[in-house]
């Protein structure tokens, strides 16, 4: 039997009672994903999860770009933990992979340097008069979906199967660097065999594409894209991945990091504009989904409520393959029922 190395590295994921922290950029680029996750937790898995209204940034982008000093980040993280403590929760779930990395890093620093923890407590007390406890369980939402993937499967209406051919869909999975590359033992399967997304794909009927640049960075990298002049380096990273996955003809890409999903989606448009090149056969691009969107689609959630129309590469072809029903007229209908203006069509990327 093949030895599955990732089996040796498991992490503890709490059963219930989670405190959810939303992400800055995910709410902009994947507006339906977080709502879908909360819906899955409450309606499908019947878990208690708190969506706190007073939350704020974790400083992640500023921290990794050297704009925000470490002490500030620690105090901001401490304030977020104080919200959890005040609400009576002990299991912290940050939506963003970068936030997950930040929290893990701060907790690890406090563990090794108690004086720093005391200083942070003092800073928070002076700034806000609040107290905080370190979470007993700190996990990413993709860990929770991974843990309960078989329970979710029972409620799913669709599978990751091409209904025309009956074959499993070929899925490229991309795990965010800050999920397991900073602290490998904090990820399911560690950094070398991250199984968090592959496990979902395999359980839900798909086939994971193992291509040469599978673990290559997506190109997000904070500093690489903050300055416009540097973005060529960022696109080059994504391009390298696309070129590597192209011969395997993936049906879609799934990511658990906001940056990865965003750039692998948007850079396909940029590369198409610059070089008139797409990485699928028909010129539509490879759809990029978040793991919540993938799960939501299979559970039968409305694709437009999941926010798939906000993506650069459109997902209708993929939904047709799976057999998901959708209303094309409702694609740009706002929450108030009004039809919103349609976005301008790209020149080369078909839609």
């Amino acid at each position: 039997m093949t030895k599955r190395f990732w089996n040796e590295y498991q992490k503890e994921i709490a059963e219930d009672h989670f405190f959810y922290e939303r992400s800055c950029i995910r709410q902009t680029f994947f507006p339906g994903s977080e709502t879908a996750f909360l819906r899955m937790m409450r309606e499908e898995l019947h878990k208690d999860i708190r969506d706190e209204e007073n939350q704020h940034t974790c400083t992640g982008i500023g921290y990794h770009s050297d704009f925000v000093p470490l002490e500030t980040t620690m105090t901001v993280v401490a304030r977020l933990f104080s919200l959890m403590t005040e609400a009576g929760y002990k299991n912290y779930v940050p939506s963003c992979v970068t936030s997950f990395g930040i929290f893990t890093e701060m907790v690890e620093m406090w563990k090794h340097n108690p004086a720093l923890l005391e200083q942070t407590r003092e800073n928070l007390r002076k700034a806000t008069g609040r107290e905080f406890e370190i979470p007993e369980n700190l996990v990413h939402p993709s860990d929770i979906i991974y843990k309960f993937r078989e329970e979710l499967k029972k409620n799913m209406k669709y599978q990751l199967v091409n209904r025309f051919t009956g074959r499993p869909l070929r899925v490229v999975e991309h795990v965010g660097c800050h999920y397991a590359k900073i602290f490998p033992e904090k990820g399911i399967g560690k950094s070398e065999f991250p199984h968090v997304l592959a496990g979902m794909i395999e359980s839900w009927g798909g086939e994971v594409v193992d291509y040469p640049e599978r673990r290559h960075c997506c190109g997000f990298g904070f500093r690489h894209y903050l300055l416009q002049e540097n973005r060529g380096y960022s696109v080059a990273n994504s391009k390298k991945k696309f070129e590597s996955m192209e011969p395997y003809e993936p049906d879609f890409i799934v990511a658990n990091c906001p940056g990865c999903a965003m750039f692998m989606d948007k850079w396909q448009y940029t590369i198409a504009e610059m070089e008139n090149k797409t990485y699928d056969r028909d010129g539509y691009g490879i759809p990029v989904l978040t793991y919540e969107e993938m799960a939501g689609l299979l559970l039968g959630y409305d694709p437009w409520e999941l926010g798939l129309q906000i993506h650069q590469v459109q997902s209708e072809k993929l939904m047709d393959k799976i057999g998901i029903k959708y209303d094309p007229d409702a694609k740009y209908r706002g929450a108030n029922g009004k039809i919103l203006p349609k976005p301008e069509k790209p020149r080369f990327l078909k839609q």
């Binding site: 416009q228 002049e229 540097n230 973005r231 380096y233 696109v235 080059a236 610059m274």
Partner: protein, 109 residues
């Protein structure tokens, strides 16, 4: 085309599967000590030519090993064949014949 304010950076990765290593094997046959190099850079550190030009023996050796011959001819002209590099090499590479034979193989003077 839309002006994005940047262009896609070209990769500097060398795909060894697409390289022609005939010239490398030719050199290794003529000067077998070439294989012993461990890239320490002592040759470059002591080189008189590198004091005044961009000449870098270590870089030349790496480019030759990766079959990146295009820019080498011009670089090899800068060597004065003084032999100081041979004196300091901890692996005993015979560097003057290496440079001379590289020139011959690449058809430079």
């Amino acid at each position: 085309m839309i002006n994005f304010g940047y262009s896609i950076s070209t990769t500097r990765v060398v795909n060894l599967d697409n390289c022609d290593f005939d010239k490398l094997h030719q050199l290794e046959a003529l000067v077998p000590s070439f294989k012993r190099c461990m890239n320490c850079g002592a040759c470059t550190a002591t080189c008189s030519a590198q004091q005044f030009t961009s000449f870098n023996i270590r870089k030349i050796k790496s480019l030759y090993q990766q079959a990146q011959y295009d820019k080498l001819s011009k670089e090899l002209e800068k060597c004065m064949l003084c032999g100081k590099c041979t004196l300091v090499c901890p692996r005993g590479l015979n560097l003057r014949p290496i440079i001379m034979n590289m020139r011959k193989i690449l058809n430079t003077k």
